[in-house]
């Protein structure tokens, strides 16, 4: 009976097992025959992930092709605290050689995040305690260090920490020249988007178009070769070539720093512009902020943000207007005292003098405020405003730089009895250094005002170059008028030849000095400026130098020598032929 019973039980169990086996086989057959394709597809789908191929941001280069800003590939090192908690280092033996963990040949000694930190810290150049604290958590994603160079990342790859430590490709913006044009270049944010300066202004051009790649990845995210199904190449951003000459920029920055120290000025700034084309060759100041730094992103360059009354430099604009309108000729004769009262307002010259017999050229040479007020008697307010506007005062420069101030020029109907006359000698309105430079460049360019430019061309990764669009040129005064004003400005330069001349080259210039509000809110601060055209016989460059509170007060004695230093460098650098002697000077006295 027992045998029969055992046999029955065995048969029952065998049947049950057979049934289970049949069900399992049936299920297997079902999966293989009917669901196999879907399962395989689902597995492939889970392995197939689209990966973004980051486009590289374009470079910024100077006129000589010198790289001012470029992007380099860097890595963000990421840790998984969850995986780090389970990490047990493998001691180095003969069997585990090449796949083990050791610190300077000795066993790690600990496990978990502490072990990972000890292994990784020397390579990352971080404190193991700090690193261990970051890895001691519950999440699976913690950024350990950003902007790690590729060489360091490759060393990390060999540490045997796969699964615990990973690296994400990123881009870092590098500015090899540091403080050269720092504020002008600006910077980018953490996502690589331009947020200040030229980086922001040209962001659309510099930014490329990301691509993608769809492939199956392994356990650690590595690509399984031959599984790439779709891909789109990234389009790198375009390179922006500036009109700025890095050599000139460096020299101007140096000359300004030297000048600032020598005259103990608050700050100094300068603009160098090619008079015939409107191209800006240098834009410098003494603030020296490193490109890409928070300071550079927060503070636009002084040349565009700082506005000031141009002082006597404004007389060139008044003179141009009066000559163009036929109000006066350069040879008109005046007897000029050192002070004059008009409409109850008294105006005086910078220095006391007896009544002088000056022509219009003489009034400009001696920078006489009184003479300008006398000459402006028949020069209507509307014309005064019209010519200031035509020369670009109170108008946007069109460069598009972030933080640029267009200055201040109110309409003539708001001018009081004093302002209507102070505008004749550069007071009562404000301008920035770029606007002022272009106003003088208009005179140097035979009366035609060019649109200033900072961008020379844009080129793509294939080297295809596209010239930047140049703005419209406008005639402001006749060529003959511009020539006469130039002549008068040469007489000004002659007067300062002992302090601001360039050997072998004729210079046409104008100085300026203006009182501006100081830190106490009163007119306790001084702006000294100088703008000059060199060579005067065949104008090529216009240089403007502006200083705040220099010791020496008058622009001719402080900004003038800095102008001469820059002018001399430009003549050497661009190998310009020396000027022929001056033979056509308009008399300044009668």
């Amino acid at each position: 009976m027992d045998t029969v019973s055992f046999a029955r039980r065995s048969i029952v169990i065998a049947l049950v097992l057979a049934l289970v086996a049949v069900i399992a086989l049936g299920k297997l057959a079902w999966i293989q025959l009917f669901e196999g394709r879907q399962t395989a597809e689902a597995a492939t789908r889970s392995r197939t992930v689209p990966h973004t191929l980051k486009a590289q941001r374009g470079r910024i280069l100077d006129a000589n092709g010198m790289i001012l800003a470029q992007s380099v590939e860097r890595y963000t090192i990421v840790g998984s605290p969850k995986a780090a908690a389970d990490f047990i280092p493998v001691d180095c033996t003969k069997q585990t050689e090449g796949n083990c963990h050791a610190i300077k040949g000795k066993p790690v000694g600990v496990t978990g995040p502490a072990a990972v930190a000890r292994i990784l810290a020397p390579t990352l150049g971080m404190n193991p305690m700090e690193l261990g604290a970051k890895l001691d958590g519950k999440g699976s994603y913690v950024v350990l260090k950003k902007d790690v160079p590729p060489q360091v990342k490759r060393t990390i790859d060999k540490l045997g920490l796969a699964g615990v430590i990973s690296a994400e490709l990123s881009n870092q913006r590098s500015y090899p020249h540091g403080e050269l044009m720092g504020s002008l270049l600006g910077g980018v944010d953490a996502e690589g988007k331009g947020v200040a300066g030229l980086e922001s202004m040209e962001d659309r051009v510099l930014t490329g178009k990301d691509g993608y790649e769809v492939y199956q990845q392994g356990m650690y995210g590595q690509q399984i070769p031959g599984t790439e199904s779709r891909s789109q190449r990234p389009e790198d951003g375009k390179d922006v070539h500036l009109t700025i000459d890095g050599d000139v920029q460096w020299y101007v920055q140096k000359a300004l720093s030297d000048g600032k120290s020598k005259y103990q000025a608050g700050w100094a700034m300068a603009v160098v512009q090619e008079s015939t084309t409107g191209r800006i060759i240098a834009l410098a100041d003494t603030e020296n902020k490193a490109a890409g730094s928070a300071e550079a992103k927060m503070n636009p360059p002084l040349v565009v943000s700082q506005t000031f009354e141009p002082g006597s430099i404004g007389k060139t604009i008044t003179l141009s207007g009066m000559l163009q309108e036929g109000t006066h000729q350069m040879t008109d004769k005046f007897t000029v005292p050192d002070r004059i009262k008009v409409d109850g307002q008294e105006y005086h010259d910078a220095v006391d003098h007896a009544a002088e017999h000056w022509t219009m050229a003489g009034i400009l040479q001696n920078s006489s405020n009184v003479g300008m007020v006398m000459a402006g008697e028949k020069y209507p307010d509307q014309k005064r405003y019209e010519y200031l506007t035509k020369f670009g005062i109170g108008q946007p420069s069109g460069l598009g730089l972030q933080g640029e101030s267009k200055g201040l020029l109110t309409s003539p109907n708001t001018w009081d009895r004093r302002t209507r006359n102070t505008v004749l000698f550069g007071q009562g309105y404000a301008t920035n250094a770029i606007q002022l430079t272009n106003a003088i460049a208009t005179i140097a360019n035979k009366g035609v005002r060019n649109q200033q430019s900072l961008i020379a061309s844009v080129s793509d990764e294939d080297g295809k170059s596209e010239r930047a669009a140049t703005g419209q040129s406008t005639r402001v005064v006749d060529e003959q008028v511009a020539g006469q004003v130039m002549n008068g400005m040469e007489s000004v330069a002659d007067k300062f030849k002992n302090v601001a001349s360039v050997d072998g080259y004729r210079v046409a210039s104008k100085t300026g000095t203006a009182e501006v509000p100081g830190k106490d809110g009163r007119l306790s601060s001084i702006i000294s400026d100088w703008t000059g055209i060199i060579p005067a016989d065949n104008p090529r460059f216009v240089i403007t130098v502006v200083m705040r509170d220099p010791q020496g007060t008058f622009g001719g004695l402080t900004a003038g020598p800095v102008f001469a230093q820059i002018g001399e460098f430009l003549m050497q650098k661009y190998e310009l032929p020396p000027s022929s002697p001056r033979t056509d000077a308009i008399p300044v006295q009668w």
């Binding site: 790289i67 470029q70 090899p176 070769p225 031959g226 001399e568």
Partner: protein, 168 residues
Amino acid sequence: MTLASSARSVRSRTAPGKRRPASQAEQRRARLALVDGGRSATNRSLGGRARRFVSWAGTRSTPLIQFAVALVFLSVCLLGSLLLRTQMVQNSFEASSVQSSISKLTQDVQDDQDKLDQLQASLPDKAQQMGMVPQRGTSSIDLNGYRPSENMQPQNQGQAPGARAGQH
């Protein structure tokens, strides 16, 4: 070449059996003309030979050969496919490895270029620290109205014509 020639000989053996009635000589000649065409340059080409091989394999007298040929063909295809697939995967790995090397080298070039740019940028400051100063002052020679002295002329005569022409 061997396969083609044997194909022709088999065809020549099978042809006489169908040509026995002497009264149909003209028709048979017409068929022979088709075979003549097979001897032309076109039929000696690979396509022509393949067509003839397929028609030979399709004859009822050679079923075993047909089977063997099909088997060999399938085996070759299978092996070829396996080989090609293996080679593709191998190439894919190589391509992936080369691509990775290119990326590494590009990164290294970028990094070195950046270092070079930084070093170049620091040159003027370093030169100044060494006591070097930018050149100051200009010196120029005005050759307007210059005439070479008499005793210089014999020396000038020895110069190349182009050099003298350049002075004018």
